[in-house]
Symmetry: C2
Subunit: 438 residues, 2 copies
């Protein structure tokens, strides 16, 4: 029932492949980014679990097939194609990097090898899912690094690109290093810790601010995080300080956060509440978090919303999904795009990682052997074989751990190179394409 989540040309091409007898020829497609987004030195893969769910459930309802059949683009298509769509399932293989793996341009993060139509139709969905979650996970790594050990919570659902993007942003931000999200659906679906206590409307719903905060304390006890800037932050801090324990702490959401945090800290300490936490929110990003940390402002937790959930300084990723091999009439051919500034390399690939260096190689190559005799790690691993999940995927918490432990292996000078064999294959394929041109 998710079969229509694609671009129309995938379905017109599917009809064409069907009509020309190519429907069962096997093709290999690779998903990678052409170049780094601006302001990014690396990317972190995320979204694989949702991509795999999609592939395992890829199908069309009768109503959806009828819709396609009535489109003018399908006037000339034979009835057998629509029967084919009704029974459509993904039967191919998928290799992918684990979620939470840092990656670089040119490195496939997902490879699909399947009968041509089964590999073609998923292009649009896979790109949208993997590039979005990877973009947000990457942004979260940047914000978490800027926080330098202090906690970051993702708060951005309301500014995300649709409610569903908010759910997925919460997941991806967690993988990238946030301690959790405000998005409850993300918590429910993916088992991610959820955070949040009260908004300005809470305070405004009571005749007096004091009554609002007393009610919050009664409700939440040691989890009460008072939002104190509805009328005046410093007076708000004095008021909650006078309520005393139990409390978790306070949240600042406007004004000069460094200055206010210092004043509020003094008020809390003077009231005998040194363990009360200060959270800050309000249009934060990694630059502002870094400045606050460098100023050594007494802020314990950052709530980061809009700029994280939309990756605002770099809101898209140039991810592509390109055919690298195909069996045409039973003969394997290496395929690639030769357009100006949009070249791709032929052949199914593997990515080997060892300290400070990635090698993009042909899939059949042996791993480079490192000093000490250990082979370099192959980042692309089988996920789906013959349409069946190989093993359960790691959950978001495991992906988060994998991301945290993998980031150490990535340094500013990280080298990405092609293997000699892949370079030779590219040259041979370039000769070949000259021969087969019209």
């Amino acid at each position: 029932m998710n079969g229509l989540q694609t671009d129309l040309y995938q379905l017109t091409m599917a009809a064409g492949f069907f009509e020309t007898g190519k429907v069962r020829e096997r093709a290999t497609f690779e998903l990678f980014v052409r170049h780094l987004p601006r302001h990014r030195e690396f990317l972190v893969s995320a979204g694989l679990a949702q991509a795999v769910d999609y592939l395992l459930n890829l199908s069309f309802t009768g109503e959806q097939v009828d819709y396609i059949r009535k489109l003018p683009q399908f006037e000339r298509v034979s009835p057998a194609f629509f029967e084919y769509l009704r029974a459509f399932r993904f039967t191919g293989d998928v290799f992918a990097m684990r979620e939470g793996t840092p990656f670089f341009p040119g490195e496939p993060i997902l490879t699909v090898r399947a009968p041509l139509v089964e590999a073609q139709i998923p292009e649009t969905y896979l790109l949208a899912m993997l590039s979005f979650q990877s973009m947000i996970a990457t942004k979260a790594v940047r914000v978490a690094r800027a926080a330098d050990g202090r906690s970051v919570v993702e708060f951005g659902t309301r500014r995300a690109h649709s409610p569903e993007a908010g759910v997925l942003a919460g997941r991806a931000a967690y993988i990238g290093g946030c301690i959790g999200t405000s998005n409850v659906e993300a918590g429910f679906r993916y088992g991610i810790p959820v955070f949040g206590t009260a908004a300005h409307s809470w305070v405004m719903s009571f005749p007096r601010e004091r009554a609002a905060q007393e009610a919050l304390q009664k409700l939440l006890g040691a989890r009460a995080a008072y939002l104190i800037d509805t009328y005046d932050t410093v007076e708000g801090a004095r008021m909650v300080a006078s309520l005393g324990k139990p409390l978790w702490g306070v949240r600042l959401d406007s004004g000069d956060l460094v200055k206010l945090a210092r004043e509020v800290r003094k008020i809390l300490d003077a009231a005998g509440l040194p363990e009360a936490k200060i959270m800050a929110s309000g249009d934060l990003n990694e630059e502002k978090v870094r400045m606050i940390v460098q100023a050594d402002a007494p802020i314990d937790v950052f709530g980061v919303g809009t700029e994280l959930a939309t990756s605002a300084d770099s809101p898209n990723v140039a991810a592509v999904y390109k055919m690298s091999e195909m069996e045409i009439d039973g003969i394997k051919r290496y395929t690639f795009k030769h357009s100006v500034e949009k070249e791709t390399l032929p052949g199914a690939k593997q990515v080997f990682r060892h300290a400070g260096r990635d090698q993009i190689a042909c899939e059949w190559e042996c791993p480079p052997i490192l000093a000490g005799g250990r082979p370099a790690i192959a980042l692309l691993r089988p996920v789906i074989l013959d349409g069946e999940l190989v093993e359960p995927l790691p959950d978001a918490a495991s992906a988060r751990e994998h991301c945290a432990s993998s980031m150490d292996s990535i340094t500013p000078g990280h080298i990405v190179e092609y293997s000699a064999e892949l370079r030779q294959l590219a040259e041979r394929a370039a000769d070949d394409v000259m021969k087969i041109r019209p």
Copy 2:
């Protein structure tokens, strides 16, 4: 079953309102933008149909209620609250601007008046849905204006912030003036025209480019749009010109589009195909479209993807949802936020529009009478009353027409002002809040 699509604090506040007996006190919230996004002179409202669907179906499954109950934040909450959630329905009123209406900062595009909890929980979803679709509809207006009468198709699903954002971007771009989208699900769900024929992988799946294009012609006939840049655009054009009719035309996807379009136009004309169309795509936005149009390049249709579906130059909207009135203990109070740089105005509002001028007024005010005796148009109209849809909402095609006809009423010098009565109310409410401060 959509009840968890919200921030956790909406649910903790809901529990708090329930426990303090406020659950049935009626509140009014308004959704508006604080300021224009960068590079924007106006915004266009979109997403109301999905927002209304959400409100009419707002509920929690038993499993979802159990999830909430087990969260540590709900430890102290009484069992009656979870029974309340199980039976939760939206029973309030909604007033909104029609989809496709241009709007400005401070103008509510949606007003919710409902029992407090019913108005509070939807905040997150409403903001994400309306601000995203409005952002994309606005971007589409800009691109369509730059195209100056030539057609624009939305092509950006693969770079959208998740597959679902791609579906909604297709819808919103259509409302803003695109002639359709490549997103099939958007076509299926919302009745939007869908476009697309073939990708580079089509060409690469055949031993020769010519075989690929012949197959496309056979498949699509007069709808065949040949992608001609897989190997070399000009040679690709010559090849399809030699195939002759039937065809729709060609698509260029890389290189110097102005120069290539001229060369390709000559080739098509020389082959007796003056009616064949030229479509261009590849990282386009309103600036590039404007340059192409100003250069008078012979491009008939623009396919615009990434920058449209992500509103890349301005990827979020500072929309907020603020309480403006509330009945506290049966007495109506005007509520507003007094934080630094985040002030809001009290009281439920109406927006009156007449040529070149908007007036934001109190909801009970009479419309200004224009020269000629006609009252100014009230932009906020009832959509849901007592939890029931007032009348079917206009579809995306009607919203698109409304947008096109409304844009004429918006000029660069458009004035937005507050009525005298609203300004007086704001002053009185400011005095009032001073009295009720702790």
